[in-house]
Structures are given as structure tokens and as C-alpha cells.
Amino acid sequence: MAGTKHKTPLLDDLKEGKWPSFVKELERAAQKSPRTDDLIGLLEKSYRDHIPHWKHGGMAGVKGYGAGIVGRFSDSPEDFPGTQEYHTARINQIEGFFYTSDVLRKLADICDEHAGGLFNFHGSTGDIQILGFKQKEAEELFQKCAQLGFDLGGSGSALRTPSCCVGPARCEWANYDTLHVTDNLTREFQNEMHRPTFNYKFKIKCAGCPNDCIASGARSDLSIVGVWKDNIRIDQDQVAEYAKKFDIKKYVVDKCPTHCMDYTDDKLTIDDSNCVKCMHCINSMPKALRPGLQKGAQIRIGAKVPMVQGPRLGFILVPFYDINKDKEEDYTFLKDLIQKIWDFWDEYGTSRERIGELIQRVGVGNFLEAIELEPLPEMVEHPRANPFIKFEEYLVADEEEESKEG
């Protein structure tokens, strides 16, 4: 395989080694795409200079959408003309990241014909990214994808492409249909994704259980995580099988965070009223233990990365709700809740303020009132220790009232 026309001694080193080489992938794409060849040259320049060679921002997009295409212009178009414009399209992934070879080949053809023959499978939000096209090609690229059934994803101050774990498609622990709800919300909120009108980005991610394989609790403003309410189902025969393989007391029972398990006389018991559904025991003995039958979801809110006021994890907003029943009602509860959150954010949020930061600024209690949710002890690690309570009312003695009036 021929390499690149540029001299790339530093990148060449990254063609060696056991792990697959992204440099080889770049070179493969460059075989067909001179502009990707220039991308390699530009990257080598960064490896030499220890500095990125991209300009800040720059406009790119398609008509009627304010999101989904991220403009990228290099700062060295004289030396690497192909990188003058080398934009990214975020293509809304298929839920659960399932594909057929047929659709992948067609995407590959579109990517060769209208872009630099380069993809990210996937971006960290979850979109497929097609890299390396110019503004004048954007519309045709978009429409070719659309004819294949793919729309653009979110970017900028918009709803970002929702995404989910593999859920019931291939996981026995899914407490609700993560693919279905993600697909449903994405369709419902097309306008919010494509036409940015928010203060800042908003992310929704759906995980089927507290293992949270999609990292929703650490990076999505709204994290929907499947849980169950009733008892963990135990198959004692299978417990006995595991007992032959490892020390159940040491590796399972003693590690339960709420000490609600017991293993005596070869029998495993769980005080389910104290189980916090952490998944540890189930993860350890998948053949013996299964989540309960009363399945639902928990909602956490406010996770985000450091910008601007520091990183946050999501806290519990709704400890449990029957999302499987809500599914039959087209997720009315969930959509109403999301709408209330957005209304509040729209009214009180400032520019580039994520919902978690707004909640921090106005106080969780006020936020709960505004979105009409009751404060619950599940929401906090513990009640406040400091006595600086902002009481909202006080009693007034009758004479005082009179004297005021008098």
C-alpha cells in the first residue's frame, strides 16, 4: 500500500505496533482522497510543532438546519490545500449502534464520493461522523444520507443526539427498552436537535440498568437509568454452582454496599428493602441472580463536563417511575418532564449555562418547585447540616398586623 505524498517520519512511527494504526486508516482513505492526504500532512505538522493547525470555528451547514455540521478550516491551506475546508457531518446513529453491511457500504460510498473517505465510528455523543467535505458539497452529502434514511445529529446549543446502551437487544439486565425510548425522543425532538435555540447543549442518554454502559450519569443533562423495585430473583441451584467456583461470601455478600445479603447454610438471602440496586451481586453471578420483575427507570439530572462552572455528576430527580407503562402512552410523563425542565431553563438560564449549573445557581428546591416535583430524601446524600435556611414564610402577631395597618 502506498503511503502519503507528504513526508511523515513522526506519524510513520505510529504505523508500527500491535494495536491497529489510525495512521494506516488515514493513509487508506488518502489513497482515494487527496484532501485526506493533505490532512495527514497537516497532522504531521502538528506532531512537529506541538500545536493544532485548525482555525477557530467558521461557518458550515445546510439550509434550514443550525446543527449537525461542524465547520473545520485549517490554518495552513497553502501547504495543505485539501484541508482548507475539511468539515464534519454528525449523522444520527442507529439506536444501539446496529447496522447492516448493506447500509454501511452505502455510507462508505457516500463518504468516498462526497467527503474525505474518513469516519468516526462513533463520536463520543454517539453520532457517526463523516469527515472531510466542503461547504459546497454539504447539501448533497446530507441528502444522500437522508435518502438512505439517515438524518443529521445535534451540535451547538441544541439537543444533542440522544443515545443508549444495547439494552434489551442483547442484555438480560435491561429494565426498559432503551432503544425504543431513545428513538422515540429523538423523533419527537427533531426541531430541538436541528435548530439550536437552547442556552447551551442538552444531552439525553438511556441506560438499561445502573451499570450505565453509556455513562449517562457522568455526561448527560438527563440520564435515564433502568431499575427495578421488587426483589432480585434468585436461583439457588445456580448459586450453588457459583459457590463451586468462588467464595460467595467474600466476593459477593461482603461487597454489597448496604450489607443486605446473607449467605449461610448454602442459601443466599437478600433483604431487598435495603438493596440500592447497585448491580454488583447480579454482575457477579449472572446465571443465579436477575433484576426483579417490577421494572422501571430512574432519572438523574445535571451531569456535565468542566465547562463552565466545574464538572458535575447527575443527581436523582425521579427515584423510580414506570417507564414501561409510559411507553404505552407514548412517553407522555417523560416528555412533559423534559418540557418543564426546558421551559425553566429557557426562562431562567443564562447563555452557556447548562441545566446542572442553573439548578446549582437557583437551588435544587426552587428548581423542583418550578418543575412540580416533590423533594424526596432519595435526592440527597443527607439532609443539610448547616442551619442557614431560607424560610419562605413567617408568622406575624395580630397587634403587629394592626399597628402596621393603623
Binding site: 500491535k18 493544532p52 447496522y99 442483547r170 453509556i214 457522568a218 463552565v308 466545574g310
Partner: protein, 362 residues
């Protein structure tokens, strides 16, 4: 909302393709009916359904940034072994889904012949989720794919094996924007700037909205200032924490700097709820130099952490649990990383991280 343009119907707002059309038949049939799974060997697992059907998964590491021909290669494999279906994971792995056990080994052979590793399950080092880096982003303090490649070459055996005390999730972000939200990983590597942005005073007025630039700073280091008769801003060097957020809103405040950009390493984060609560990763090493193409300083630091963890953690303990058990002082002692002023949080609520007790393992 189709929109008619030059006689052809322009397609918009259609959302994603319907996932149901892309599920392999065995998954459609057993959707929501899976009973349990078992890991058969590193990178290979079987899911067993109520219907007794068995689905085999072969997990394959990829580079995330891939060529169209790579996409064709994997499509060919999917045709040959998986009735034309395949999926990706949230960590940029591929998963081949097989309904015939006898296809596992031939598939693995072909995958390996193409140079791709099978693994990333159970007590392994997962594929490193990462960002754009110098390859495609203007705020990057480092390259993403390059550091990841250098690391995965070095720690390859941990991906294809299962010899770690528990799973290790590593992630990389090339600046504090942290595309990919890496901050809750067992090991998080983050591109760091170390010098305040340069104010291109003449250009601020034309390129930036001054009030929003000021508002973008988390520590109020950006202030309005008239320079050469033009409205501009100044940056208070004593306050700046080099986050780059002002640059994100104002192109006239570039922050990349070849001498001072580098990488920090954070450890002990997790997102799963198992045994302990989700938590962010904490600072281990504040700054290491950019040393492409192999970033040896970063590799050494990660090796130090992985080896200390491998030696010290009990079976099943994630990095966070191991450090929690032995205590941070011992973590610094074992690894030899210097504990400095920078390790003590002085940002908002940082005080909450002090040790308000007499607990110390002396």
C-alpha cells in the same frame, strides 16, 4: 416536513433509521428475552435466551477514526459470518454477533489477519474512548489518536487478556472541553494548557462578543479593556486557570502553546454503580510534556498506575476502590508521583475535599 427544492423533494427531520430494521433476526426474536450471559474467553461471550437460543459476540478493538475501506472490510466479514449484521459499542469497539458457535474461530482468524485485536471484556483494559486532537480540533493541547495508539500498543496484552484485578476504563480528552466526558474513568488523560490565552487585541472587537467572552470565564479573569482605542479585553494572569473557555467563545484569544501544552492524568473514576457510587477521577499527575509520536512520559505514568493497581488491588476491585482502601497517601507513595499544591482543590467547593478527621494511615 419535506421541503420542495428545484422540483425534487428535500428530505429533512426524518430522525434516525428505524433500529428494528437493523437488528439481526436472532436478536429480533429474543429481544428482551435474554436470560444470562457467560464470557467464553477474552473477547467472546454468549447470551442465552429464554427461547434457548444462543447468541455469540466477538468484540474487536478499532481505531475509531476509520477509512471507508475499513467499513467495507468489516461489512464483508459481517456478510460472511453474521448474515450481514454487526454493531459497535459505546467504546468504539466492533461487535460481531453470531448465531453459529462454529463461526467464532474462523471469524477471529480473519479479524486478526486484518490486524484487529479481539478482547476488551471482563477484567481487561477497554478500548480508550477519545476525542479529535490535533487531527481535527483547534483547542487541542495534544493529539488524541496518537496518544491512544501509543498507549494501546504498550498495553495491548491487557486488552486481549483478562488479567487485571477488574475492568479498567481509560479515556482521553485533548482539552478541558472534554468531548467524550472522560472525567469518570479509571484512568483519564486530559490535554492541559498552562498559559493564559494570548489577546489579539486588534481583532477582539471584530471577532468576539465582549460581554459573552467575559461571562465565559469561570474565574472572572477576563475584563474589558480599551487597547489602542479599540474595545478589547485583558486577562488576569493570576486568576486564569487555562481552561480555554474564553477562546471557545472568542477566536481572538488563542490558547494553544507548543512549550506549555501537555497532559494531566486523573485516576479512580467510574460510572457504574456497582459496590460504590459513580465518581469522578482525581488528579494523579498535573502535567506531562507532549512528546510525539510516542509520548513516553505518559506511557510511563500509566504503566506505573497499572502496575501498582495490578499488584495492590484485590480481585474485583476497580481502581477507585483500591485507592479508597489503601488511601491516597499510599497511592502517591507506591506510584512515586509527587503530591503537590496542585493536587489540593482550590476551585469552587474544593474545600469539601479536605480531610476533616484524624484519619491517617501513618
Amino acid at each position: 416536513m419535506p421541503d420542495v427544492d428545484k422540483g425534487t423533494v428535500r428530505i429533512t427531520d426524518i430522525g434516525p433509521p428505524n433500529y428494528e430494521n437493523f437488528l439481526p433476526p436472532i436478536i429480533k426474536k429474543n429481544y428482551g428475552k435474554w436470560l444470562y450471559h457467560e464470557i467464553l474467553k477474552p473477547g467472546v461471550m454468549v447470551h442465552v435466551s429464554e427461547t434457548k437460543d444462543k447468541l455469540y459476540t466477538v468484540r474487536v478493538g478499532s481505531t475509531r477514526i476509520v477509512s471507508s475501506d475499513f467499513v467495507r472490510d468489516i461489512s464483508n466479514l459481517a456478510d460472511k459470518y453474521c448474515n450481514g449484521y454487526l454493531r459497535f459499542t459505546t467504546r468504539n469497539n466492533l461487535e460481531f454477533l453470531l448465531d453459529k458457535e462454529e463461526n467464532i474461530e474462523p471469524l477471529i482468524k480473519e479479524v486478526q489477519a486484518l490486524g484487529f485485536p479481539v478482547g476488551g471484556m471482563d477484567h481487561s483494559l477497554g478500548n480508550i474512548v477519545h476525542t479529535q486532537g490535533w487531527l481535527h480540533c483547534h483547542t487541542s493541547a495534544s493529539d488524541a489518536s496518537g496518544v491512544v495508539k501509543a498507549l494501546m500498543d504498550e498495553f495491548y496484552d491487557y486488552f486481549v487478556g483478562d488479567k487485571l484485578p477488574a475492568k479498567v476504563r481509560m479515556a482521553f480528552a485533548c482539552c478541558l472541553n472534554m468531548c467524550g466526558s472522560v472525567g469518570a474513568s479509571d484512568i483519564a488523560i486530559v490535554g492541559m494548557h498552562r498559559r493564559p490565552p494570548t489577546v489579539m487585541a486588534d481583532r477582539v472587537k471584530d471577532l468576539c462578543e465582549i460581554p459573552s467572552t467575559i461571562a465565559a470565564c469561570p474565574v472572572d479573569a477576563v475584563r474589558p479593556k480599551t487597547i489602542n482605542g479599540k474595545p478589547s479585553v485583558e486577562i488576569d494572569e493570576d486568576r486564569c486557570v487555562f481552561c480555554g473557555n474564553c477562546y471557545t467563545v472568542c477566536p481572538a484569544l488563542p490558547i494553544a502553546d507548543p512549550l506549555n501544552d501537555g497532559l494531566a492524568i486523573f485516576v479512580g473514576g467510574k460510572v457504574a454503580n456497582a459496590r460504590t457510587k459513580p465518581t469522578f477521577s482525581k488528579l494523579a499527575v498535573p502535567w506531562l510534556p507532549n512528546n510525539p509520536p510516542r509520548w513516553p512520559e505518559v506511557i510511563e505514568a500509566v504503566r506505573t498506575i497499572l502496575e501498582a493497581y495490578k499488584d495492590g488491588a484485590r480481585r474485583g476491585e476497580r481502581v477507585s476502590e483500591w485507592i479508597e482502601r489503601i488511601g491516597w497517601p499510599k497511592f502517591f507513595k507506591i506510584t512515586g508521583f509527587e503530591f503537590t499544591k496542585y493536587h489540593i482543590d482550590d476551585f469552587r467547593l474544593g474545600e469539601a475535599t479536605m480531610n476533616y478527621s484524624n484519619y491517617a494511615r501513618l
